[in-house]
Protein backbone atom coordinates (compact mmCIF):
# COMPACT_ATOMS: atom_id res chain seq x y z
CA UNK A 1 0.00 0.00 0.00
CA UNK A 2 2.81 2.38 0.92
CA UNK A 3 4.52 1.65 -2.43
CA UNK A 4 1.32 2.50 -4.27
CA UNK A 5 1.06 5.82 -2.41
CA UNK A 6 4.65 6.71 -3.25
CA UNK A 7 4.10 5.89 -6.92
CA UNK A 8 0.94 7.99 -7.02
CA UNK A 9 2.67 10.93 -5.36
CA UNK A 10 5.55 10.70 -7.79
CA UNK A 11 3.17 10.69 -10.73
CA UNK A 12 1.34 13.75 -9.43
CA UNK A 13 4.61 15.58 -8.88
CA UNK A 14 5.73 14.74 -12.40
CA UNK A 15 2.49 16.03 -13.86
CA UNK A 16 2.74 19.25 -11.87
CA UNK A 17 6.32 19.94 -12.81
CA UNK A 18 6.47 18.73 -16.39
CA UNK A 19 7.37 21.29 -19.06
CA UNK A 20 4.39 20.70 -21.29
CA UNK A 21 4.28 21.86 -24.87
CA UNK A 22 1.60 23.67 -26.89
CA UNK A 23 -0.47 24.71 -23.89
CA UNK A 24 -2.30 27.99 -23.37
CA UNK A 25 -1.29 30.60 -20.83
CA UNK A 26 -3.00 33.79 -19.70
CA UNK A 27 -1.50 37.27 -19.41
CA UNK A 28 -2.95 39.99 -17.22
CA UNK A 29 -3.09 43.69 -17.97
CA UNK A 30 -0.90 46.28 -16.31
CA UNK A 31 -2.04 49.64 -15.02
CA UNK A 32 1.31 51.05 -13.90
CA UNK A 33 -0.51 52.88 -11.11
CA UNK A 34 0.13 54.60 -8.78
CA UNK A 35 3.68 54.51 -10.20
CA UNK A 36 5.24 53.10 -13.33
CA UNK A 37 6.17 49.47 -12.79
CA UNK A 38 3.72 48.81 -9.97
CA UNK A 39 3.40 45.06 -9.41
CA UNK A 40 1.58 44.78 -6.08
CA UNK A 41 -1.87 46.30 -5.93
CA UNK A 42 -3.74 47.90 -3.09
CA UNK A 43 -6.99 46.24 -4.12
CA UNK A 44 -6.92 42.74 -5.57
CA UNK A 45 -8.90 42.18 -8.74
CA UNK A 46 -8.47 45.70 -10.09
CA UNK A 47 -5.96 47.33 -12.39
CA UNK A 48 -5.73 44.33 -14.75
CA UNK A 49 -5.39 41.73 -11.98
CA UNK A 50 -7.35 38.94 -13.67
CA UNK A 51 -6.80 36.23 -11.08
CA UNK A 52 -7.38 38.50 -8.10
CA UNK A 53 -4.16 37.72 -6.27
CA UNK A 54 -3.11 41.36 -6.04
CA UNK A 55 -0.12 40.85 -8.31
CA UNK A 56 0.46 42.10 -11.85
CA UNK A 57 3.50 42.51 -14.08
CA UNK A 58 6.70 40.78 -13.09
CA UNK A 59 5.27 39.79 -9.71
CA UNK A 60 2.66 37.72 -11.54
CA UNK A 61 5.31 36.08 -13.72
CA UNK A 62 6.98 34.15 -10.95
CA UNK A 63 4.33 33.68 -8.28
CA UNK A 64 3.54 30.08 -9.02
CA UNK A 65 2.86 27.45 -11.64
CA UNK A 66 -0.53 28.93 -12.39
CA UNK A 67 0.01 29.53 -16.12
CA UNK A 68 -0.91 33.18 -15.54
CA UNK A 69 1.68 35.81 -16.35
CA UNK A 70 2.08 39.53 -16.09
CA UNK A 71 4.43 40.21 -18.98
CA UNK A 72 4.46 39.00 -22.57
CA UNK A 73 8.17 38.34 -22.39
CA UNK A 74 7.72 35.82 -19.57
CA UNK A 75 4.59 34.26 -21.06
CA UNK A 76 6.23 33.29 -24.35
CA UNK A 77 9.27 31.91 -22.50
CA UNK A 78 9.61 28.70 -20.48
CA UNK A 79 8.66 30.31 -17.19
CA UNK A 80 11.03 30.94 -14.31
CA UNK A 81 11.05 30.67 -10.55
CA UNK A 82 7.93 29.06 -9.21
CA UNK A 83 6.49 29.27 -12.74
CA UNK A 84 9.25 27.21 -14.32
CA UNK A 85 7.98 25.03 -17.13
CA UNK A 86 4.61 26.72 -17.34
CA UNK A 87 5.32 29.31 -20.04
CA UNK A 88 4.34 28.80 -23.67
CA UNK A 89 8.02 28.45 -24.59
CA UNK A 90 7.27 29.48 -28.19
CA UNK A 91 4.80 26.64 -28.59
CA UNK A 92 1.36 27.54 -27.33
CA UNK A 93 -1.22 30.28 -26.99
CA UNK A 94 -0.79 33.46 -24.98
CA UNK A 95 -4.19 34.92 -24.16
CA UNK A 96 -4.35 38.46 -22.80
CA UNK A 97 -7.38 38.35 -20.53
CA UNK A 98 -7.46 41.89 -19.10
CA UNK A 99 -6.87 45.29 -20.65
CA UNK A 100 -3.72 47.19 -19.93
CA UNK A 101 -0.34 48.44 -20.94
CA UNK A 102 2.33 46.00 -21.99
CA UNK A 103 5.66 47.77 -21.88
CA UNK A 104 8.42 45.64 -23.32
CA UNK A 105 12.02 46.11 -22.17
CA UNK A 106 13.12 45.47 -25.74
CA UNK A 107 11.75 43.83 -28.91
CA UNK A 108 9.64 40.78 -28.17
CA UNK A 109 11.71 38.17 -29.95
CA UNK A 110 9.95 35.16 -31.43
CA UNK A 111 12.63 32.83 -32.65
CA UNK A 112 13.05 29.11 -33.14
CA UNK A 113 11.52 26.75 -30.59
CA UNK A 114 12.78 23.24 -29.87
CA UNK A 115 10.34 21.97 -32.51
CA UNK A 116 8.37 24.24 -34.80
CA UNK A 117 7.51 27.61 -33.37
CA UNK A 118 3.74 27.53 -33.06
CA UNK A 119 2.73 30.63 -31.16
CA UNK A 120 -0.47 32.64 -30.91
CA UNK A 121 -0.61 35.91 -29.00
CA UNK A 122 -4.09 37.35 -28.74
CA UNK A 123 -6.15 39.71 -26.64
CA UNK A 124 -9.56 38.39 -25.65
CA UNK A 125 -12.53 40.16 -27.20
CA UNK A 126 -13.27 42.96 -24.77
CA UNK A 127 -9.66 43.43 -23.75
CA UNK A 128 -7.33 46.00 -25.24
CA UNK A 129 -3.64 45.18 -25.24
CA UNK A 130 -1.63 48.36 -25.67
CA UNK A 131 1.84 47.51 -26.90
CA UNK A 132 3.20 51.02 -26.96
CA UNK A 133 6.86 51.97 -27.24
CA UNK A 134 6.31 54.93 -24.96
CA UNK A 135 5.60 54.75 -21.24
CA UNK A 136 5.36 57.97 -19.33
CA UNK A 137 7.24 57.47 -16.09
CA UNK A 138 9.88 55.21 -17.59
CA UNK A 139 13.28 56.73 -18.28
CA UNK A 140 14.02 58.83 -21.33
CA UNK A 141 16.69 56.33 -22.35
CA UNK A 142 14.25 53.41 -22.26
CA UNK A 143 11.56 55.30 -24.14
CA UNK A 144 13.95 56.40 -26.84
CA UNK A 145 15.44 52.93 -27.11
CA UNK A 146 12.03 51.38 -27.71
CA UNK A 147 11.03 54.02 -30.23
CA UNK A 148 14.05 53.09 -32.33
CA UNK A 149 13.41 49.35 -32.53
CA UNK A 150 10.74 46.87 -33.59
CA UNK A 151 7.97 45.99 -31.16
CA UNK A 152 7.76 42.34 -32.14
CA UNK A 153 10.59 40.73 -34.05
CA UNK A 154 9.90 37.32 -35.55
CA UNK A 155 13.03 35.48 -36.57
CA UNK A 156 11.67 31.93 -36.56
CA UNK A 157 13.39 30.48 -39.55
CA UNK A 158 11.35 27.59 -40.88
CA UNK A 159 8.36 27.34 -43.14
CA UNK A 160 6.58 25.14 -40.59
CA UNK A 161 6.80 27.90 -37.96
CA UNK A 162 3.38 29.48 -37.52
CA UNK A 163 2.72 32.66 -35.57
CA UNK A 164 -0.64 34.37 -35.07
CA UNK A 165 -1.00 37.87 -33.63
CA UNK A 166 -4.62 38.81 -32.92
CA UNK A 167 -6.41 41.81 -31.40
CA UNK A 168 -3.26 43.69 -30.47
CA UNK A 169 -2.58 47.43 -30.64
CA UNK A 170 0.87 48.73 -31.59
CA UNK A 171 2.00 52.32 -31.37
CA UNK A 172 5.12 54.42 -31.60
CA UNK A 173 7.65 51.81 -32.68
CA UNK A 174 10.11 52.23 -35.47
CA UNK A 175 8.64 49.02 -36.86
CA UNK A 176 5.70 47.53 -35.03
CA UNK A 177 6.23 44.01 -36.38
CA UNK A 178 9.29 42.84 -38.25
CA UNK A 179 9.42 39.36 -39.75
CA UNK A 180 12.72 38.32 -41.22
CA UNK A 181 12.86 34.56 -40.99
CA UNK A 182 10.96 31.94 -42.92
CA UNK A 183 7.85 31.67 -40.78
CA UNK A 184 4.24 31.97 -41.76
CA UNK A 185 2.64 34.78 -39.81
CA UNK A 186 -1.00 35.82 -39.58
CA UNK A 187 -1.77 39.30 -38.27
CA UNK A 188 -5.45 39.51 -37.56
CA UNK A 189 -7.63 42.32 -36.30
CA UNK A 190 -4.71 44.36 -35.05
CA UNK A 191 -4.45 48.13 -34.85
CA UNK A 192 -1.33 50.07 -35.77
CA UNK A 193 -0.88 53.81 -35.26
CA UNK A 194 2.01 56.24 -35.36
CA UNK A 195 4.70 53.70 -36.12
CA UNK A 196 7.51 55.59 -37.76
CA UNK A 197 9.05 53.49 -40.50
CA UNK A 198 6.74 50.52 -40.96
CA UNK A 199 3.71 49.05 -39.29
CA UNK A 200 4.59 45.63 -40.71
CA UNK A 201 7.88 44.83 -42.40
CA UNK A 202 8.28 41.44 -44.03
CA UNK A 203 11.74 40.21 -44.98
CA UNK A 204 13.58 36.96 -45.59
CA UNK A 205 11.42 34.20 -47.01
CA UNK A 206 8.52 34.80 -44.65
CA UNK A 207 4.89 34.54 -45.67
CA UNK A 208 2.74 37.11 -43.91
CA UNK A 209 -1.01 37.61 -44.06
CA UNK A 210 -2.63 40.75 -42.70
CA UNK A 211 -6.37 40.41 -42.27
CA UNK A 212 -9.05 42.64 -40.82
CA UNK A 213 -6.60 45.17 -39.44
CA UNK A 214 -6.23 48.94 -39.25
CA UNK A 215 -3.08 50.87 -39.99
CA UNK A 216 -3.36 54.58 -39.44
CA UNK A 217 -0.84 57.41 -39.47
CA UNK A 218 2.28 55.40 -40.17
CA UNK A 219 5.23 57.76 -40.37
CA UNK A 220 3.60 60.35 -38.17
CA UNK A 221 5.19 60.31 -34.73
CA UNK A 222 6.48 63.08 -32.53
CA UNK A 223 8.54 61.83 -29.58
CA UNK A 224 10.61 63.78 -27.10
CA UNK A 225 14.12 63.49 -28.49
CA UNK A 226 13.81 60.85 -31.18
CA UNK A 227 13.60 61.30 -34.91
CA UNK A 228 10.19 62.02 -36.35
CA UNK A 229 11.16 61.27 -39.92
CA UNK A 230 10.76 57.77 -41.29
CA UNK A 231 9.76 55.69 -44.28
CA UNK A 232 6.12 55.89 -43.26
CA UNK A 233 5.14 52.74 -45.15
CA UNK A 234 2.33 50.72 -43.62
CA UNK A 235 3.24 47.29 -45.04
CA UNK A 236 6.53 46.48 -46.73
CA UNK A 237 7.54 43.19 -48.35
CA UNK A 238 11.25 42.65 -49.06
CA UNK A 239 13.70 39.81 -49.66
CA UNK A 240 11.89 36.82 -51.09
CA UNK A 241 8.88 37.24 -48.85
CA UNK A 242 5.31 36.66 -49.92
CA UNK A 243 1.92 37.47 -48.49
CA UNK A 244 -1.63 38.69 -48.61
CA UNK A 245 -3.35 41.79 -47.26
CA UNK A 246 -7.11 41.50 -46.98
CA UNK A 247 -10.06 43.36 -45.51
CA UNK A 248 -7.79 45.97 -44.02
CA UNK A 249 -7.91 49.77 -43.86
CA UNK A 250 -4.75 51.81 -44.39
CA UNK A 251 -5.12 55.55 -43.91
CA UNK A 252 -2.80 58.52 -43.80
CA UNK A 253 0.60 56.89 -44.12
CA UNK A 254 3.22 59.47 -44.98
CA UNK A 255 4.80 56.93 -47.33
CA UNK A 256 3.18 54.01 -49.12
CA UNK A 257 0.20 51.91 -48.06
CA UNK A 258 1.58 48.60 -49.33
CA UNK A 259 4.96 48.35 -51.01
CA UNK A 260 6.04 45.07 -52.56
CA UNK A 261 9.80 45.05 -53.07
CA UNK A 262 10.05 41.27 -52.91
CA UNK A 263 12.36 39.75 -55.51
CA UNK A 264 9.54 37.33 -56.29
CA UNK A 265 7.72 40.05 -58.15
CA UNK A 266 4.18 41.31 -58.24
CA UNK A 267 2.65 37.88 -57.80
CA UNK A 268 4.35 37.48 -54.41
CA UNK A 269 1.95 39.86 -52.72
CA UNK A 270 -1.78 39.85 -53.21
CA UNK A 271 -4.45 42.11 -51.82
CA UNK A 272 -8.21 41.85 -51.38
CA UNK A 273 -10.63 44.51 -50.21
CA UNK A 274 -7.98 46.86 -48.89
CA UNK A 275 -9.26 50.39 -48.32
CA UNK A 276 -6.63 53.07 -48.71
CA UNK A 277 -7.01 56.79 -48.20
CA UNK A 278 -4.78 59.76 -47.49
CA UNK A 279 -1.54 57.82 -47.98
CA UNK A 280 1.49 59.25 -49.76
CA UNK A 281 1.26 56.36 -52.21
CA UNK A 282 -1.23 53.57 -52.65
CA UNK A 283 -0.53 49.89 -53.33
CA UNK A 284 2.67 49.31 -55.29
CA UNK A 285 3.57 46.18 -57.26
CA UNK A 286 1.00 43.89 -55.67
CA UNK A 287 -1.71 41.82 -57.33
CA UNK A 288 -5.42 42.24 -56.67
CA UNK A 289 -7.36 39.06 -56.12
CA UNK A 290 -11.05 38.33 -56.10
CA UNK A 291 -12.90 35.48 -54.46
Amino acid sequence: MQGFRIATSLLLLLCAGAALANHPVIVEGNCDSPTFGTTVLGVAGTCGDFDGDGRIGSAEDTDGADRIFGTLTAAIGPGTGAAAGTGANLNGTVLIAASGRFVLPTSLLIGDAAGPTLLTIEAAPGAIALIDAVAQGDTLANNNFRQNIAGIHITASNVEDRIVLRNLTFRNWSEAIRVNGGARVVIENCTFEHNLDYAVRVMGSAHVMVNGSRMFDTGSRFGVTVTSTGAGTAIQFEGTSTGLVSKTAIFNSTGTAINNASSNGASAVRFFQVIVGGNGNGIINATPVAF
Binding site: S99, V134, N143, N167, R221, F222, V224, G277
Partner: protein, 291 residues
Protein backbone atom coordinates in the same frame (compact mmCIF):
# COMPACT_ATOMS: atom_id res chain seq x y z
CA UNK B 1 31.67 55.48 -0.19
CA UNK B 2 29.27 57.53 -2.25
CA UNK B 3 29.78 61.26 -2.05
CA UNK B 4 27.02 63.64 -1.08
CA UNK B 5 27.33 65.25 -4.54
CA UNK B 6 26.76 61.94 -6.28
CA UNK B 7 23.76 61.25 -4.09
CA UNK B 8 22.31 64.66 -4.87
CA UNK B 9 22.88 64.10 -8.56
CA UNK B 10 21.22 60.68 -8.43
CA UNK B 11 18.25 62.10 -6.55
CA UNK B 12 17.92 64.94 -9.06
CA UNK B 13 18.04 62.50 -11.97
CA UNK B 14 15.37 60.34 -10.33
CA UNK B 15 13.16 63.35 -9.82
CA UNK B 16 13.63 64.40 -13.42
CA UNK B 17 12.70 60.96 -14.67
CA UNK B 18 9.65 60.91 -12.45
CA UNK B 19 8.29 64.28 -13.48
CA UNK B 20 9.36 64.69 -17.09
CA UNK B 21 6.64 65.88 -19.44
CA UNK B 22 6.70 63.07 -21.96
CA UNK B 23 5.28 63.26 -25.39
CA UNK B 24 3.30 60.68 -27.38
CA UNK B 25 2.57 58.40 -24.44
CA UNK B 26 -0.65 56.50 -23.72
CA UNK B 27 -2.97 57.24 -20.82
CA UNK B 28 -6.04 55.45 -19.52
CA UNK B 29 -9.43 56.95 -18.83
CA UNK B 30 -11.99 55.48 -16.46
CA UNK B 31 -15.75 55.50 -16.89
CA UNK B 32 -18.09 57.54 -14.75
CA UNK B 33 -21.34 56.32 -13.28
CA UNK B 34 -22.60 59.61 -11.80
CA UNK B 35 -24.19 57.62 -9.02
CA UNK B 36 -25.74 58.09 -6.54
CA UNK B 37 -25.74 61.70 -7.76
CA UNK B 38 -24.36 63.35 -10.91
CA UNK B 39 -20.79 64.38 -10.40
CA UNK B 40 -19.98 61.65 -7.88
CA UNK B 41 -16.23 61.18 -7.68
CA UNK B 42 -15.79 58.83 -4.71
CA UNK B 43 -17.10 55.30 -5.19
CA UNK B 44 -16.65 51.81 -3.84
CA UNK B 45 -13.26 50.46 -4.85
CA UNK B 46 -13.43 48.82 -8.23
CA UNK B 47 -17.04 49.87 -8.74
CA UNK B 48 -18.84 52.28 -11.01
CA UNK B 49 -16.04 52.56 -13.59
CA UNK B 50 -13.15 52.62 -11.10
CA UNK B 51 -10.62 50.58 -13.07
CA UNK B 52 -7.59 51.06 -10.87
CA UNK B 53 -9.42 50.32 -7.65
CA UNK B 54 -8.57 53.50 -5.79
CA UNK B 55 -12.19 54.45 -5.17
CA UNK B 56 -11.97 57.57 -7.33
CA UNK B 57 -13.63 58.45 -10.62
CA UNK B 58 -14.09 61.68 -12.55
CA UNK B 59 -12.30 64.78 -11.34
CA UNK B 60 -10.98 63.00 -8.25
CA UNK B 61 -9.15 60.54 -10.49
CA UNK B 62 -7.67 63.41 -12.50
CA UNK B 63 -5.87 64.92 -9.58
CA UNK B 64 -4.84 61.93 -7.49
CA UNK B 65 -1.32 61.53 -8.81
CA UNK B 66 0.86 61.16 -11.86
CA UNK B 67 -0.43 57.67 -12.57
CA UNK B 68 -1.46 58.26 -16.18
CA UNK B 69 -5.03 57.30 -15.29
CA UNK B 70 -7.70 59.97 -15.61
CA UNK B 71 -11.37 60.45 -14.93
CA UNK B 72 -12.30 63.14 -17.45
CA UNK B 73 -11.53 63.52 -21.11
CA UNK B 74 -10.49 67.16 -20.73
CA UNK B 75 -7.84 66.36 -18.15
CA UNK B 76 -6.51 63.41 -20.12
CA UNK B 77 -6.06 65.63 -23.18
CA UNK B 78 -4.19 68.26 -21.20
CA UNK B 79 -0.81 68.34 -19.50
CA UNK B 80 -1.93 66.56 -16.33
CA UNK B 81 -0.03 66.25 -13.07
CA UNK B 82 3.74 66.23 -13.59
CA UNK B 83 3.31 65.91 -17.32
CA UNK B 84 1.31 62.71 -17.17
CA UNK B 85 -1.49 63.90 -19.52
CA UNK B 86 -1.06 63.48 -23.24
CA UNK B 87 -0.96 67.22 -23.93
CA UNK B 88 -2.42 66.69 -27.42
CA UNK B 89 0.23 64.12 -28.35
CA UNK B 90 -0.67 60.61 -27.30
CA UNK B 91 -3.39 58.03 -26.89
CA UNK B 92 -6.36 58.02 -24.52
CA UNK B 93 -7.83 54.58 -23.98
CA UNK B 94 -11.12 54.36 -22.13
CA UNK B 95 -10.95 51.14 -20.15
CA UNK B 96 -14.33 51.04 -18.41
CA UNK B 97 -17.79 51.94 -19.59
CA UNK B 98 -19.46 55.09 -18.45
CA UNK B 99 -20.73 58.57 -19.14
CA UNK B 100 -18.38 61.30 -20.25
CA UNK B 101 -20.01 64.68 -19.84
CA UNK B 102 -17.69 67.54 -20.74
CA UNK B 103 -18.48 70.96 -19.37
CA UNK B 104 -18.28 72.34 -22.90
CA UNK B 105 -17.02 71.31 -26.33
CA UNK B 106 -13.98 69.05 -26.15
CA UNK B 107 -11.46 70.98 -28.19
CA UNK B 108 -8.49 69.46 -29.96
CA UNK B 109 -6.33 72.27 -31.26
CA UNK B 110 -2.67 72.68 -32.04
CA UNK B 111 -0.34 70.89 -29.64
CA UNK B 112 2.05 73.08 -27.62
CA UNK B 113 4.97 71.50 -29.41
CA UNK B 114 5.02 69.55 -32.63
CA UNK B 115 2.08 68.05 -34.48
CA UNK B 116 -1.17 67.14 -32.76
CA UNK B 117 -1.31 63.35 -32.63
CA UNK B 118 -4.34 62.30 -30.62
CA UNK B 119 -6.20 59.02 -30.47
CA UNK B 120 -9.27 58.73 -28.25
CA UNK B 121 -10.63 55.21 -28.14
CA UNK B 122 -12.78 53.01 -26.01
CA UNK B 123 -11.49 49.50 -25.44
CA UNK B 124 -13.44 46.70 -27.08
CA UNK B 125 -16.34 45.78 -24.84
CA UNK B 126 -16.49 49.26 -23.37
CA UNK B 127 -19.17 51.83 -24.20
CA UNK B 128 -18.06 55.44 -23.88
CA UNK B 129 -21.13 57.66 -23.91
CA UNK B 130 -20.39 61.22 -24.99
CA UNK B 131 -23.88 62.51 -24.50
CA UNK B 132 -24.80 66.19 -24.32
CA UNK B 133 -27.49 65.42 -21.80
CA UNK B 134 -26.97 64.42 -18.19
CA UNK B 135 -30.12 64.11 -16.16
CA UNK B 136 -29.67 65.98 -12.92
CA UNK B 137 -26.50 67.81 -14.00
CA UNK B 138 -25.68 70.00 -10.99
CA UNK B 139 -23.84 72.44 -13.25
CA UNK B 140 -26.96 72.98 -15.35
CA UNK B 141 -25.04 72.37 -18.54
CA UNK B 142 -27.62 70.46 -20.56
CA UNK B 143 -28.91 73.44 -22.53
CA UNK B 144 -25.42 74.70 -23.32
CA UNK B 145 -24.19 71.31 -24.47
CA UNK B 146 -27.19 70.65 -26.71
CA UNK B 147 -26.41 73.87 -28.58
CA UNK B 148 -22.74 73.19 -29.34
CA UNK B 149 -20.50 70.61 -30.95
CA UNK B 150 -19.43 67.64 -28.86
CA UNK B 151 -15.90 67.58 -30.20
CA UNK B 152 -14.21 70.36 -32.12
CA UNK B 153 -11.01 69.59 -33.98
CA UNK B 154 -9.37 72.83 -35.04
CA UNK B 155 -5.76 71.68 -35.24
CA UNK B 156 -4.42 73.45 -38.28
CA UNK B 157 -1.67 71.38 -39.88
CA UNK B 158 -1.82 68.64 -42.48
CA UNK B 159 0.54 66.68 -40.22
CA UNK B 160 -1.94 66.75 -37.35
CA UNK B 161 -3.54 63.30 -36.95
CA UNK B 162 -6.57 62.56 -34.81
CA UNK B 163 -8.36 59.23 -34.44
CA UNK B 164 -11.69 58.60 -32.71
CA UNK B 165 -12.47 54.95 -32.19
CA UNK B 166 -15.38 53.13 -30.64
CA UNK B 167 -17.10 56.18 -29.19
CA UNK B 168 -20.83 56.91 -28.91
CA UNK B 169 -21.78 60.54 -29.53
CA UNK B 170 -25.33 61.71 -28.92
CA UNK B 171 -27.57 64.77 -28.64
CA UNK B 172 -25.16 67.50 -29.73
CA UNK B 173 -25.85 70.09 -32.39
CA UNK B 174 -22.85 68.66 -34.21
CA UNK B 175 -21.31 65.42 -33.02
CA UNK B 176 -17.84 66.17 -34.36
CA UNK B 177 -16.83 69.36 -36.14
CA UNK B 178 -13.48 69.63 -37.90
CA UNK B 179 -12.51 73.12 -38.98
CA UNK B 180 -8.74 73.14 -39.37
CA UNK B 181 -6.37 71.28 -41.64
CA UNK B 182 -5.97 68.07 -39.69
CA UNK B 183 -6.44 64.52 -40.85
CA UNK B 184 -9.16 62.89 -38.79
CA UNK B 185 -10.21 59.25 -38.82
CA UNK B 186 -13.52 58.31 -37.24
CA UNK B 187 -13.40 54.57 -36.74
CA UNK B 188 -16.18 52.33 -35.47
CA UNK B 189 -18.10 55.16 -33.80
CA UNK B 190 -21.82 55.53 -33.28
CA UNK B 191 -23.74 58.77 -33.69
CA UNK B 192 -27.38 59.18 -32.71
CA UNK B 193 -29.77 62.10 -32.39
CA UNK B 194 -27.30 64.82 -33.22
CA UNK B 195 -29.31 67.75 -34.45
CA UNK B 196 -27.64 69.46 -37.40
CA UNK B 197 -24.74 67.18 -38.29
CA UNK B 198 -23.19 64.02 -36.95
CA UNK B 199 -19.88 64.81 -38.64
CA UNK B 200 -19.07 68.17 -40.21
CA UNK B 201 -15.77 68.56 -42.07
CA UNK B 202 -14.67 72.08 -42.93
CA UNK B 203 -11.49 74.03 -43.59
CA UNK B 204 -8.88 72.00 -45.44
CA UNK B 205 -9.31 68.93 -43.30
CA UNK B 206 -9.26 65.34 -44.49
CA UNK B 207 -11.89 63.31 -42.66
CA UNK B 208 -12.42 59.58 -43.05
CA UNK B 209 -15.47 57.89 -41.58
CA UNK B 210 -14.88 54.15 -41.40
CA UNK B 211 -17.05 51.31 -40.12
CA UNK B 212 -19.33 53.64 -38.25
CA UNK B 213 -23.08 53.87 -37.74
CA UNK B 214 -24.92 57.16 -37.94
CA UNK B 215 -28.57 57.08 -36.98
CA UNK B 216 -31.38 59.60 -36.59
CA UNK B 217 -29.45 62.79 -37.31
CA UNK B 218 -31.85 65.74 -37.10
CA UNK B 219 -34.16 64.02 -34.65
CA UNK B 220 -33.80 64.97 -31.01
CA UNK B 221 -36.24 65.37 -28.15
CA UNK B 222 -34.50 67.73 -25.77
CA UNK B 223 -36.20 69.77 -23.10
CA UNK B 224 -36.00 73.57 -23.37
CA UNK B 225 -33.92 73.52 -26.55
CA UNK B 226 -34.69 73.62 -30.26
CA UNK B 227 -35.05 70.18 -31.72
CA UNK B 228 -35.43 71.37 -35.30
CA UNK B 229 -32.41 70.15 -37.17
CA UNK B 230 -30.96 72.41 -39.83
CA UNK B 231 -30.15 70.68 -42.02
CA UNK B 232 -29.99 67.31 -40.25
CA UNK B 233 -27.24 65.81 -42.40
CA UNK B 234 -25.24 62.85 -41.22
CA UNK B 235 -21.89 63.67 -42.85
CA UNK B 236 -21.09 66.98 -44.48
CA UNK B 237 -17.98 68.14 -46.33
CA UNK B 238 -17.71 71.91 -46.79
CA UNK B 239 -15.22 74.64 -47.71
CA UNK B 240 -12.07 72.79 -48.92
CA UNK B 241 -12.51 69.61 -46.92
CA UNK B 242 -12.03 66.16 -48.39
CA UNK B 243 -12.29 62.58 -47.29
CA UNK B 244 -14.03 59.27 -47.49
CA UNK B 245 -16.96 57.43 -45.98
CA UNK B 246 -16.48 53.66 -46.10
CA UNK B 247 -18.16 50.54 -44.77
CA UNK B 248 -20.61 52.57 -42.74
CA UNK B 249 -24.37 52.69 -42.18
CA UNK B 250 -26.41 55.85 -42.24
CA UNK B 251 -30.06 55.54 -41.33
CA UNK B 252 -32.97 57.93 -40.85
CA UNK B 253 -31.24 61.28 -41.18
CA UNK B 254 -33.63 64.16 -41.63
CA UNK B 255 -31.61 65.37 -44.65
CA UNK B 256 -28.80 63.87 -46.77
CA UNK B 257 -26.73 60.92 -45.67
CA UNK B 258 -23.51 62.32 -47.14
CA UNK B 259 -23.21 65.75 -48.72
CA UNK B 260 -20.15 67.04 -50.49
CA UNK B 261 -20.16 70.81 -50.84
CA UNK B 262 -16.38 71.07 -50.89
CA UNK B 263 -14.95 73.58 -53.33
CA UNK B 264 -12.62 70.80 -54.49
CA UNK B 265 -15.48 69.13 -56.32
CA UNK B 266 -16.79 65.63 -56.63
CA UNK B 267 -13.41 63.97 -56.40
CA UNK B 268 -12.81 65.43 -52.94
CA UNK B 269 -15.08 62.90 -51.28
CA UNK B 270 -15.23 59.16 -51.90
CA UNK B 271 -17.64 56.57 -50.65
CA UNK B 272 -17.45 52.82 -50.51
CA UNK B 273 -19.95 50.29 -49.20
CA UNK B 274 -22.10 52.86 -47.44
CA UNK B 275 -25.52 51.48 -46.57
CA UNK B 276 -28.20 54.15 -46.43
CA UNK B 277 -31.89 53.97 -45.68
CA UNK B 278 -34.64 56.28 -44.48
CA UNK B 279 -32.65 59.47 -45.00
CA UNK B 280 -34.10 62.66 -46.45
CA UNK B 281 -31.47 62.50 -49.19
CA UNK B 282 -28.80 60.10 -50.33
CA UNK B 283 -25.12 60.55 -51.10
CA UNK B 284 -24.73 63.86 -52.86
CA UNK B 285 -21.84 64.88 -55.10
CA UNK B 286 -19.38 62.22 -53.89
CA UNK B 287 -17.50 59.63 -55.92
CA UNK B 288 -18.05 55.91 -55.47
CA UNK B 289 -15.02 53.66 -55.37
CA UNK B 290 -14.97 49.91 -55.76
CA UNK B 291 -12.40 47.16 -55.89
Amino acid sequence: MISRGALTLALFATLLAATAAWANHPVLLEGNCDSPVPGTTLVGTGKCGDWDGDGRVGAAEDGDGADRIFGTIEAALGAGMSGSGINLNGTITIVTSGRFVPSSTVRIGDAPSGPTNVTIEAAPGVTALFDAVLQGDPAGGNTLRQNIAGILVDATGDDDRIVFRNLTIQNWVEGIRVTGGARVTIDNCRFEHNLNYAVRAMGTSLVIVYESTITDTGTRGGSGVSNFGVPGRAVSYEESARGMVARSQIFNSKADAVTNESSLGTSAVFHHQVVISGNGGGIVNATPIGF
